[in-house]
């Protein structure tokens, strides 16, 4: 497959997530993010949707290149962003953190999760995480030709009912289903299509801790950021999430929740994560597994 990084050289002073957020709010020019596991056909889809109307930019502070392009659909232009492949929104590499930060902070108008129909189960992990982050989301069930070749019929309607978001079957290499995909993107953007995403409700202890963290996170982030998900990441001791909340230290965060965080992490037997300060000796010993 032709690489997608042609048509422009990397720019060092690319847009910040705030710039991208502003672009997203400019009328008539929605931002659409393509997220998905590696090798699900994101770049193939990106190329098919944007043709040669592409350029790349650097994510602020990172060396990862983000390909952006313009898709025209029914007289309207959409900025399409081809995110690095990731298995999770819990980032464990720079590439993954770019994908995760883009979805949580730049807040695209519409997110498309590109899923490989030949190993759907694996792909649903990320899909469910993205569904936790945004309402304006569709699943692009790609490679349905390969799945069929392996004897697997995909029931997009049933999957749609299970997830509560639109599912569009595609064969990106042949351009099949792309019109319907863009119709769905357009409908999500304009609000003519609404979703009822199936969301995870955690155990009461966890929900209590999240309720404590979320306001603290919200205070530090721009309006519209995916605060609940960032609270989930912070609760898991994800340093990336703590970095995002700027000058807030792990200690501040733990203190601010009145012990709810510690109760949860110790209840799971995780012990204090490396990011949690060890100074709080009365409660930070790993022994407290009871309850």
């Amino acid at each position: 497959m032709v690489g997608h990084h042609h048509g422009g050289s990397p720019v060092s002073d690319g847009p910040t997530w705030a710039d991208l957020g502003r672009a997203a709010r400019a009328p008539g020019h929605p931002v659409v993010a393509l997220a998905g596991n590696p090798n699900t056909g994101k770049s193939t889809l990106f190329n098919a949707l944007t043709g040669l109307r592409q350029h790349t930019g650097n994510w602020p502070g990172k060396t990862v290149l983000l390909a952006q392009g313009v898709a025209r659909h029914r007289g309207k232009s959409y900025t399409i962003v081809d995110l690095p492949g990731t298995y999770s929104l819990f980032a464990s590499s720079v590439e993954e953190s770019v994908a995760s930060d883009f979805l949580c902070l730049a807040r695209p108008d519409v997110t498309v999760v590109v899923a490989d129909a030949t190993c759907l189960e694996r792909n649903l992990n990320l899909a469910l995480q993205v569904i936790e982050v945004t309402d304006k989301v569709a699943v692009c069930l790609n490679l349905v030709d390969e799945a069929r070749r392996k004897g697997c019929e995909c029931d997009a309607t049933m999957l749609e009912a299970e997830l509560g978001v639109p599912v569009v079957a595609t064969v990106a290499t042949k351009g099949r289903g792309l019109g319907r995909l863009m119709d769905t993107v357009a409908g999500l953007n304009s609000g003519t299509i609404t979703t009822r995403p199936k969301r995870v409700v955690y155990d009461p202890d966890v929900e209590e801790a999240l309720a404590g963290i979320e306001p603290l996170v919200t205070r530090k982030l721009p309006p519209g950021a995916a605060t609940r998900w960032l609270a989930v990441r912070a609760l898991c001791g994800d340093m990336g999430a703590l970095e995002l909340v700027g000058d807030m230290s792990a200690l501040e965060l733990v203190d601010g929740t009145g012990g709810a965080v510690r109760k949860v992490t110790e209840g799971f037997g995780l012990g204090p994560a490396p990011s949690w300060p060890a100074a709080r000796s009365t409660t930070s010993t790993a022994g407290g597994k009871s309850s």
């Binding site: 298995y87 999770s88 819990f90 992990n125 995780l270």
Partner: protein, 99 residues
């Protein structure tokens, strides 16, 4: 160590013990926190059948076929995954999630 021996008799051990071609069933994860989260995100969920595919010339990392993708893990990470070796595993029969 009595416990370890008992576990070994049942064919349970860390994933890193699987030789290329051997299949196993994930029975548990011994890591907590973000490492556990990461392994689950990569598809190493208890109940999953997987197969060691190949080992790098230096012996580490090893690539595993798991839930339709090939994932490379260092032994340090693979040791957090407990597997039950497939009976008379040749790799071809019990687990071919990727072929």
């Amino acid at each position: 160590m009595a416990r370890t021996n008992e576990a070994e008799r049942k064919g349970i051990g860390p994933l890193a013990l699987l030789a290329p071609g051997e299949a196993g069933l994930v029975v548990g994860l011994s890591a907590g926190g973000l490492v556990r989260r990461r392994l689950l995100d990569l598809g190493f969920v208890p109940g999953t059948v997987l197969r060691a595919v190949r080992r790098s010339p230096l012996g580490d990392p090893t690539a595993y076929s798991v839930r339709g993708a090939v994932i490379a893990l260092r032994a340090a990470d693979a040791n957090n995954i407990l597997v039950r070796r497939a009976p008379e595993s040749t790799g071809a029969t019990a687990a071919a999630p990727d072929d």
